[in-house]
């Protein structure tokens, strides 16, 4: 999904367009504003389905919280 979004970031089809969306926002800006929302939705999905399970327990294994090691 990240790769698909990275490809979709290169919106060459909007490169020359000066069309307005909703009468005030240029299409090149509207596309990338929606892209930001799509990125947030994708990350919400990643948090739900690709969460690194067990990382919390692993981090707490040694119980060294706060102790500074060199």
């Amino acid at each position: 999904m990240v790769v698909v979004l990275a490809v979709l970031h290169q919106d060459v089809w909007n490169w020359n367009s000066k069309a307005l969306v909703l009468g005030f926002i240029p299409v090149g800006l509207a596309y990338h504003a929606l892209y930001s929302v799509a990125a947030a939705l994708m990350w919400m999905a990643a948090l739900r389905w690709a969460w690194p399970s067990g990382v919390e327990a692993w981090a707490n294994e040694t119980g060294e919280d706060g102790e500074v090691s060199q």
Binding site: V2, L5, A6, H9, Q10, D11, V12, N14, W15, N16, S17, K18, L20, G23, F24, I25, P26, G28, L29, Y31, H32, A33, Y35, S36, V37, A39, A40, W43, M44, A46, L47, P52, G54, V55, E56, W58, A59, N60, E61, T62, E64, D65, G66, E67, V68, S69, Q70
Partner: protein
Amino acid sequence: MSLALLSAAPADRTPLFVVCGYMVMLLGLGVMTQRKFRGTSADYFAAGRSVGGFLLLMSVFGTTMTAFALVGSTGKAFDQGIGVYGLMASSSGLVHSLVFFLVGIRLWAVGKRNGYVTQIQYFRDRFQSSLLGWLLFPILVGLVIPYLLIGLLGSGIVVKGMTRGMFPEMFEGGAVPPWLSGLVVSAVVLFYIFYGGIRGAVWANTFQTLVFMVMGIVAFFLISNKLGGVGAATQKALEHAPDHLSRTGMIGKAQFLSYGLVPLSVGMFPHLFQHWLTAKSAKSFRLSVAWHPVFIAIVWVPCILMGLWAAGLAASDPAFNPPSSNGVLPYMVAKLVQSPLISGMLMAGILAAIMSSLDSQFVCLGTMFTHDVVLHRVGKDRFDDRQRVLIARGFIVAIVTITYLLTFFPPPHIFDLAVWCFSGFASLFPLVFASLYWRRVTRAGALASVIAMAISWFWLFYKGLIARPDGAEGDYLVGGMMPVAVIFAISTVALVLVSLVTAPPDERHLARFFRSGEAA
């Protein structure tokens, strides 16, 4: 600010009173932070690893957004049009969250497990190399210091521009001089981080992030209202500055593509590393990962539109003449809104964006000098917990003082340095990523990668900034691409090739950094 602004906004001192009130609020926040401080080094350097999701989201967002978020984005859109959002903002939304998800959570876990508070502690331990730390230290500090200078110098320029005419008998041009505004900003930031350490920075960042987000939106609605609505404002830009509505002639396709590497810099920001370590749990990262792209849109989209409208106004009305690109937003507020109160609130918002990055960087450098130089050199057992905090406070005072003094002797092209600093951090990203996900990466590979990055960065920096002919316009590009693409590639190749031809690291050592059963 220009004479045109003066004619629009009388030398009313209300904006300065608003900013003074804002500074007093920050000092109050510093006092509150001091009351929460437990007196331990764990609390001072990592906020006791107790920061929850909302505070982490706000503090990390505030740290990554500099003054550029409000004034720079508006100014850049004024110069280069709406393509700036795709170039700098939407790519950051995707990449920053990717870095938080893949690198931030993992570094938090490794950091908590092994008790790190600085990046260099992690790299020294991970690669069993003190030398790597000594090599990274000047590079990381050298890349952060210009960033600090830009913040302090930027605050001086903003305050000077917005206070012109207020004190005709005291200061030249009647404006608060940069030495005074820089002194106040440094003193206020120092106050709340001196007592509270990273916790002070987290709380202040949260407050300041809310301030600059709200002020950007307020400025947007007030300005669009004065221009007859968003539709009329954009229509004017379409008629008089049509090239600003597309990317043609403004941004190259290879430049647009290669700029996507720049946001990887957050993976190697030492101040962000320290913020990640403050997280209470891995779940604290969830809000940052999910909402960071939306927050970027909330701040940037209105600013890009205001920059576009300003381009339309400048092309159609000779009386609309902003003093500089970075002065476009304050100029629009003063010229169009004509409310000293709103001007003051906007000035506070701009300073909030600047200070929310400065504080974390000051704390981080103090922490690095304490741990990566002093304690590493003389041994951590030489000092008790209380003494470590005292040493850090001493370093923070010294760094704030030195940075402030450096603003009197700014290096040439200081404001062009930002993208070079980000490119340097981004080109170190392969190192941090490999250290977390590739067991085969070796000490020699890490050293080679850092050295290759430093040499290629200096080479291109010399060609692109120092030796560049005066008057050359636009970003320095290599084959149409941002220099980061070349430096990143060289650093990655050095890391991989040298790792593959040197002996693999000890598996027992790696067990401290990888969960059992993990591949790679």
